[in-house]
Amino acid sequence: MELDVTVLTEQLDTLWMLVAAVLVFFMQAGFAMVEAGFTRAKNASNIIMKNLMDFAIGSFLFFVVGYGMMYGKDIAGLIGGSQFIMPSDAPVAILFQTVFCATAATIVSGAMAERTKFVSYVIYSAVISAIIYPIAGHWLWGGGWLYQLGMIDFAGSTLVHSVGGWAALVGAAMLGPRIGKYKADGTPNAIPGHNITIGALGVFILWFGWFGFNPGSTLALDVSIGHIAMTTNLSAALGAITVMTISWVKYGKPDVSMTLNGALGGLVAITAGCASVSMWGAIAIGVIAGFVIVFGVEFVERKLKIDDPVGAISVHGLCGVAGTLSVGLFATAEVGELTGMGQINGLFYGGGFGQLAVQAIGVVSYMAWTLATAFILFKIIKSTIGLRVSKEEEIMGLDLGEHGTEGYADFVLKM
């Protein structure tokens, strides 16, 4: 038997990309469980349905138009302009990018949970999958202007997570808080999630899937996937430990759902730099993410007065920013060489402010793009078909209101 090295390489890369894509696909289940678990029982079916349709609609539209805008022939560094309808790249590459796109889209559903009209959500979801995310994606991963500038966002702390997080922020702000979330004097009420077990399962599933998300972003089989998986894991672990510790000190008891958020925050934050930082860099980034989560959740809830039932803005938006900037601090040439990210040192490794500045430009650009486009999108939806269900429906629950069903038909519920 003879060996064709090109074929072998292609096979191996396909295998690894497929395995990674499948792991990332499974994150959809993780998002569904986290978002359902952290909200109320009367809206569980609706959340499930939003997550399912996110992925289904996104899969279709990203294939038909999104992929082309993201990876098609570059036009002025801003948008791709080929590969529509029937993209010609390797199917496994399209699949891998599809599951990433769906991740960005689905982040929003948690922040807008328990009060958004289903039809409005479906429209939002279609637009972000087909247009907002792919264009953003082109700038960096499609070889656009941010790529040329040298921004490092390995697996998308900013591109995937912050984009989702900023869209979530706009959506949740425009919707307004759930009935009962704020007292007359503006102080928040707690609205506990209905199923912490299933929410925690969701977090474990997301963590599991992240081992495809980050290491898979090598886009080819490479020994550096080991390093990337380790930095990913350490940051998540430290995110959880940090939040547990802060909440314990600050509130008197270790908060379960926030600690779960902490693990996710650590994962989001390391996503940009997983291939650029050392293990101890990852540990530091996890700790930073932990602080961002606790103070971010409080800030969004108390200062911005935005009602984000699952903490999506803090987890994806703020930790995404923190992680992307951290690359400018913790990147080390030693790791960059190993993983092929190049000889880049961050501020703390003697590389000066250069990379940090580039990172900041990227962060701000994506924030501006997403806030602007999401604002226009949600504004149009709001002033046409409307964003929010009626007060009666919100009280009754969206499961019955939007879908005529109950999530837990056999159980006696308190409310």
Partner: protein, 112 residues
């Protein structure tokens, strides 16, 4: 002593609680119930099959008060939670012969 038993909309819980406290009743007991009355339920379609959901989710709140307090409590609640829409709920006034506070063994009005 009388027991005021009210079947209310779940979202009126907090309002009732405040009124009960304001009136000075000693406590209250809440249960999750399903009910139908003038409000006749809704039709939904599940997997293509029509289904009538004619028992709606309600809360039952029981407050036992001394005789003198009953009327004012009933009135306060009746006004406090009225929306004027079907489904506002009902209150039933039930005679209570005696009450016992287990902690002390006290009986009668003082036990409330």
């Amino acid at each position: 002593m009388k027991k005021i038993e009210m079947i209310i909309r779940p979202e009126m819980m907090e309002t009732v609680k405040e009124i009960v406290e304001n009136v000075g009743a000693g406590g209250m007991t809440v249960s999750s119930v399903m009910g139908c009355g003038a409000q006749k339920g809704r039709k939904e379609v599940y997997r293509g099959t029509e289904m009538t959901i004619n028992l709606l989710h309600k809360l039952k709140i029981e407050v036992v008060v001394v005789d003198s307090m009953a009327d004012s409590l009933v009135d306060a609640i009746s006004k406090g939670i009225r929306t004027g829409q079907v489904g506002d709920g009902k209150m039933f006034i039930i005679p209570i012969e005696d009450a016992v506070r287990v902690r002390t063994g006290e009986k009668g009005d003082i036990a409330l």
